[in-house]
Symmetry: C2
């Protein structure tokens, strides 16, 4: 590996050794340009002698793969660590990339920085494609990525039909339906829901799924609150629900850490879970088993979704054979200790 | 931005328009090569007409910054999502990178893939430097990175003095000392410790810090178990401690999710926390406040550590002024509900 002493060889070293310009080395390696075969061979010989190999940068210049996917997350960096999805999704993406030696280029941006980040990724050819998450209502990313010619795959449901490939579980609202059946079977009739933010596609779709599932039993939710994904906001929403005139006996939360905040809120209000209140989370993060009572939740295959998004992109790029893409597991209800018979 | 229709312009388009080779365009943009000034200007004019700008790849070729740091994590992708440090550390790194428009290139590798990943990052010039975490006993990364000429900054303490810049809190074992003082003040005399894996530098250093802190009160730990960082392994270690002949009345865990698993284990064994057992975590993840009882823990500024590592690297690269590097907050004890008077 390299020459002793002064670090790795550069294209300039190769050019000097071969007695040509840097541009000629680039041309020789790329097999383009207008070099004589003799010059081309002299350059390649110099490169071999010095142990120089064209870098990913050079490879990118001639249109091959960079070996990285991008993930641009639009949020305050401080909120990342409380994001329940992030680590699981990255885990899934990495499980597809790691065997290929590919990496995941992560960019955190604020609202204004999102478009700039995608333009920089495309113009700089820093990634071969991007994974999109958190599908938004009137999502501007699809048009932008088409303009940039940057391949993408979306985890979730686009706000309207779009040519960007999407990955999601088959029968993706089955978990919510099962949760409602479980709770109705336990005698619950007054349901509350603490949903995610209004601008997320899944907030609206899950709320609709909940209404459909309740409607099948002749029920409607007694109270619904939209909330940010962080436990603090969820605690505020939970307190509103649990101190309202028509207090629900069962509350479904948009994710597990919001449900965990709901458990804390109930405890502070002196409301016993599951004796007086049943609580259901969403996602089934490792957290659920560590809570007391352990959290009943709708398991979502977040790792599988991240993996499927990466494999879909890689298959589209011709890097892997997409035929082997395993299906994302459909959501299922995991019953633990936070749900019980409705109070009389 | 670009021509209508067929995506962004390429270096080949510029070469064709200027009537030169691709290599000549590269040479013109890099200001190297042996082009006449006339040719150089013709190339730059063509580039401007087409809206083509040299990509990050091209910039990297001529030695400027790529605009990315690397983070190579050596672990099973499946374990990432249960890693308590990962999201916090990435949050800190991103908080330094985001304002610059820089990204973080993440690579998950197995044991054998680590060296290969670093070599690929260096050879491909994919990053400007790497953040190292999880300092290991006989860590092979320092020598490797020196050989590769890849700048690095380590979060934590190196296993032996090393020229790689390191970031850590001042007075980094103060939190453990405070935890021991708190528990001794509550009457505890029988201490247990569930540490991290043996090959981590901090496992050994924290164990030594605990022994020193106990020694100051004429005490020694009654039982110590090494454990993997995942809750399952921690639960096994906790069960061993809590069913041993000389059961401790206070147990310190290496991180918060391990301590959460300890709470679950105690509950299953019918041991009341904090009535019969005090439990202390480490890190102060958001999880702590969601547990019941809420977890007393040693707060570590993981976000600050990640940020400091990134800023140190960026300052070393001359990208930011390191003089403004704020200090990492020293560890402190956060007392919640999981610690109480020793049982009589």
């Amino acid at each position: 590996m390299g020459r002793a002493g002064s670090g790795r060889p550069t294209i300039a070293d190769v050019a000097a050794r071969a007695g040509v310009s840097v541009g000629a080395v680039s041309a020789a390696v790329n097999g383009k340009g207008r070099l004589s075969e003799a010059t081309r061979l002299r350059v390649l010989a110099a490169a071999a002698e010095l142990g120089w190999a064209p870098s990913a940068a050079a490879v990118a210049l001639r249109g091959a793969r960079v070996g990285a996917l991008g993930l641009v997350l639009r949020r305050d960096p401080d909120l990342l660590s409380s994001d329940p999805h992030f680590a699981q999704l990255v885990t899934g993406v990495e499980s597809a990339l790691a065997p290929l030696g590919w990496g995941l280029l992560l960019h955190l941006v604020d609202d204004g920085g999102e478009e700039r980040a995608y333009r920089a990724l495309a113009a700089g050819r820093r990634v071969d494609g991007v994974v999109l998450t958190e599908s938004r209502v009137r999502d501007p990313r699809f048009a932008l990525l088409r303009e940039l010619g940057l391949p993408a795959a979306l985890v979730g449901t686009p706000w309207r039909p779009d040519p960007v490939p999407t990955v999601r579980a088959r029968d993706q609202h089955r978990g919510i339906t099962r949760a409602v059946e479980h709770l109705v079977g336990l005698g619950h009739r007054r349901f509350g829901h603490v949903s995610g933010p209004e601008d997320r596609v899944h907030t609206r779709r899950r709320r609709a799924a909940l209404r459909r599932a309740l409607g099948a039993h002749g029920l409607v939710p007694v109270c619904v609150r939209a909330s940010g994904f962080d436990p603090g906001a969820a605690a505020v929403a939970a307190r509103e629900l649990l101190t309202s005139a028509e207090r629900p006996t069962a509350v479904l939360f948009a994710n597990d850490s919001m449900a965990a905040a709901g458990l804390v809120t109930a405890r502070r209000l002196g409301i016993d879970v599951p004796g007086e209140l049943s609580v259901v989370g969403h996602d089934d993060l490792p957290l659920c088993e560590l809570l007391h009572p352990a959290l009943t939740t709708v398991r979502q295959d977040l790792v599988g979704l991240g993996r499927a998004a990466a494999v879909t992109l890689l298959a589209g790029l011709g890097v892997v054979d997409g035929a082997g893409l395993e299906e994302v597991r459909p959501p299922e209800l995991v019953v633990r200790e936070s749900t019980g018979p409705a109070p009389r």
